[in-house]
Symmetry: C2
Subunit: 273 residues, 2 copies
């Protein structure tokens, strides 16, 4: 950072700075699943590390963030946990690391989750669940340099069960947006909004143009990259693609195929800078 006052750079400021430098909004989602692996890894006991390693190395030129989906590491037990640590060391300094852990618990427990993810593992950002309210999110917000993305409007079918319920004639997810606006006083709190809901994404973006947005659902889940790019208008939003990049090919060209997908997305994004 260039700030001479020794003030801590906010998460938002850091993200924007990296995005401008790389002309990229691309977040690569690391969702390593044995059944979907390129054949080459089928008999490799260290497949979890090696596959993710290749994916990071192949895309790091185009991505500005990596989102690690904790579900796919936890299912591997303590080995998964150790692999996550090894992978974090590979991610270059000009990329943000996001723990896609969707944690949410009372203050006492939330402090432990925040310590585990943002201090011990030293992720740059984390996804959290807003259902338990402010004190479940607050411990993650203590360091303005660390980003916290609250689930707002998710890309799945079940989103309708709670997120669309009307409160004062507005869907619940808009109330979450308003809460996060308050929680974003230190410029380090944002929202997760699925690319599969472009009309709502547009409304939310118009309402909160400076808030960090994390937008999954492009690619395998069906969201349109160009549509999202028109909406987010170039900064402080991350667009995540997971399966469409890391499983771009199951053959021996898997690394090139992933790089190609990432490069195509980044080239589209660069037009907005």
């Amino acid at each position: 950072m260039t700030d001479s006052t020794q003030q801590i750079e906010s998460y938002s400021a850091k993200l924007t700075r990296l995005q401008k430098a790389k002309k990229s909004l691309l977040c690569v989602g690391i969702d390593p699943e044995y059944d979907k692996l390129p054949k080459r890894f089928a008999d490799d006991k260290d497949w979890l590390f090696k596959f993710c390693h290749v994916m990071i190395k192949s895309t790091m030129q185009y991505a500005v963030a990596y989102k690690f989906n904790f579900a796919f590491f936890e299912v591997m037990g303590s080995q998964g946990w150790e692999t996550l640590q090894r992978l974090l060391e590979i991610v270059p300094k000009d990329c943000i690391t996001i723990a896609d852990a969707k944690r949410g618990d009372i203050g006492n427990s939330a402090r432990q989750y925040a310590k585990a993810i943002l201090e011990e593992m030293a992720f740059d950002a984390v996804t959290v669940n807003p259902y338990m309210g402010h004190d479940a999110v607050e411990p993650f917000l203590a360091d303005p340099g660390k980003g916290v993305y609250c689930l707002c409007l998710t890309s799945n079918a079940g989103a309708k069960d709670l997120q669309y319920l009307l409160v004062d004639e507005q869907p619940l997810f808009k109330h979450v947006g308003a809460l996060v606006q308050k929680w974003n006083a230190a410029k380090n709190c944002g929202i997760v909004v699925g690319a599969t809901k472009p009309a709502h994404l547009k409304e939310l973006r118009q309402q909160y143009p400076d808030m960090p947005f994390l937008i999954p659902g492009v690619g395998a889940q069906g969201g349109s990259l160009n549509q999202v790019l028109e909406i987010v208008n170039g900064s402080n939003a991350l667009i995540n693609a997971s399966r469409s990049i890391i499983y771009a090919s199951a053959n021996d060209d898997f690394a090139q195929a992933a790089a190609h997908e990432a490069a195509m997305m980044q080239a589209n994004m660069a037009k907005n800078f």
Copy 2:
């Protein structure tokens, strides 16, 4: 189980059977925190296992369930994960094990979380977050013998931020109760309701008398055991106490003090059987 038809015993049926046999609704919350430990463990590198081991052994006669708070294990990294596995082996067969993990993610990821917790680690039950709706919960419900507790009305101050918002003149948490009622077709889905909100706990219990309830907040958080016992009326509800039992004493009598607290609670509970 005594069922001769080889049908799988539902989680609810199993829980009720164990509760009647032990005349107990007591769930001991395992929230191991280094700063609160009895002095004896201060220099012990294996304190996480040893402390939890003593707590389980001291209370297993009185408890019918153990709830492991994942935050306190995750903060220890892969060692925490391994310790969790070792501890599960100690819990006797007449006690339910609950993974207090509050997970919630889209179907693809939820399946991995469910596999990690209910298959690989083989917990009997898990806590989940309802914000993402049915497909985020469904993978946990596949085995009717495994219990799934959805956050409904939590014991913390932040509960007001979303859970009390009015939807069709009813607070949001009541809509969660109604959703869980639907998800409970196989008698394995219930709700988490804080003991600190007795009036709402009573309403929910009257509405769903047969649903599994997990009730934290008795003891350190201020909920009254007797008040909760009057409301839940003896079956299919678990009342959780964590800090008031496991930190009952910081001196060398910590095991006896924990046993005494658990025994007192169970004696109160036994009156309702």
